[in-house]
Amino acid sequence: MKHHVTKTAPVLRRAISTIALALGLGTLVASGAQAQDYPSKPITMFIGYGAGGQTDLVGRGVAQVLSDQLGVPVNVVNKPGSGGALAAYQLQKEDPDGYTVMFHTDGIINAEPFTTKRITFTPEDFEYAGMITAFQQGLAAPKDAPYDTVAEFVDWAKQNPGAVFGSLSPMAKLYMDEIAKANDLDVNIMPLKSGGEVVNTLLGKQVALVFSGGIHYRYPDETKSIAATTTFRHPSAPDVETINEAGYPLGMDARTTLILPKGTPREVLETLSTALAAAATDEQFQKVVGAADIPIMYFDLDAAAEEITQSYAANKAIIEGAGIEPQ
């Protein structure tokens, strides 16, 4: 994909702006914008998933808030492909001027590189303007399952060999593999394609346990959480232990992050970070993510950079420790 590598992207964007101006298409355009008067033209926001997903939902909500705060349009561009890697590679080639940003889960930087051979990002490859939400990933089971904790599940699975675990991704499989390995369980791992399938298999009772991105919280009458696979307890189920508390140090988070190209000026990051903070208290945004059971956990730019460096090391240890080879 050589055309992505060209250094002409700035020319291109400027040309669009100029033509947009020439056609009288509305937006104010200031060529050669400085960091001080940032932002003075529309911002493009990449989302590395297709329209309609959970990250897209949060991202479009954030774009709305940022646009209100900064006074310029924030245009969302969906660039799905390889879990967001394509959008991230594209972002690296954009000018570090804050007019192209990416909204994505931090997993693309702190987890994907350890499971996918062709993705080689490190935390140093990007700048971060903050984090806004965290997905409530965890292990879920049908409501009437005769176990409520990981330990109880292990006991039950020993009595019931061949129990079925539903898995969406290599990371999801890792949890069951590690638990099975530690306890010598016989578990069948069934591949799933989407969050919708996670719910279907739970409600149809086709699985004993499933890795859920948090979508099962919408069905409190039919499903329950067995453990949170995040490092924090879920706000939607504060009594359920985390996987670390259950004795398996495998906790990994997925936080939606505002990612920028390397070399973006600090003032720009600060402007974006402040605008992002407004999302945490914005009523409309709270309503959007609240409806999807996605808790808001705002980190400013420094906290975000700290979090990503620290989780990169932690996840690396967990994933490599589990013996997962990048494919």
């Binding site: 055309h3 060209t6 002409t8 020319v11 291109l12 040309a15 669009i16 033509i19 298409l25 493009t44 329209a51 245009n75 969302v76 561009v77 969906n78 494919q327």
Partner: protein, 146 residues
């Protein structure tokens, strides 16, 4: 002998065998036990294609035409070349200049190579279409595509 039947069957059969013995082992890694091999389905498809294409080629040799084949016409090759050139130019403009320029060259260029000479039509349709796309995406839906 039905030449097209024979040659197309033989060529596709060869390609399918090449895929089975070369491309699939190269491009799909084998995994450990306990899984259905990721190579299984592509291999089944390719064996099926290889077998049936061989059959088609043999039938062609024996003079059996399994279905209609239309000859490639010279005018179609020309159209391919003409429109291909317009597309290539537009892609180049998209990468090196601007998406808008690419849009203009794509619509106006296609008009020109297909023999439209009325400047009103060319300008009007080009401008109108681009404005429509801009209106639908950027104004109405509030989303960007480039």
């Amino acid at each position: 002998m039905k030449q097209t039947e024979f040659y197309s069957g033989a060529v596709i059969c060869g390609l399918a065998l090449g895929t089975i013995f070369w491309v699939i082992p190269w491009q799909i890694e084998e995994v450990g036990e306990g899984y259905v091999s990721p190579r299984l389905l592509p291999q089944i498809c390719m064996w099926l294609i290889a077998g049936l294409c061989a059959l088609q080629a043999v039938n062609g040799l024996r003079g059996i035409q399994s279905s209609g084949v239309t000859p490639i016409r010279r005018a179609e090759i020309f159209t391919f070349l003409k429109l291909g050139a317009v597309l290539a130019l537009s892609l180049a403009l998209f990468v090196w200049v601007a998406p808008l320029a690419a849009g203009i060259s794509l619509i106006a260029g296609a008009f020109l190579v297909l023999g439209e000479r009325n400047p009103l039509v060319i300008l009007g349709v080009t401008g109108g279409l681009l404005l429509l796309i801009w209106g639908v995406f950027y104004r109405l839906l509030g989303t960007a595509i480039v």
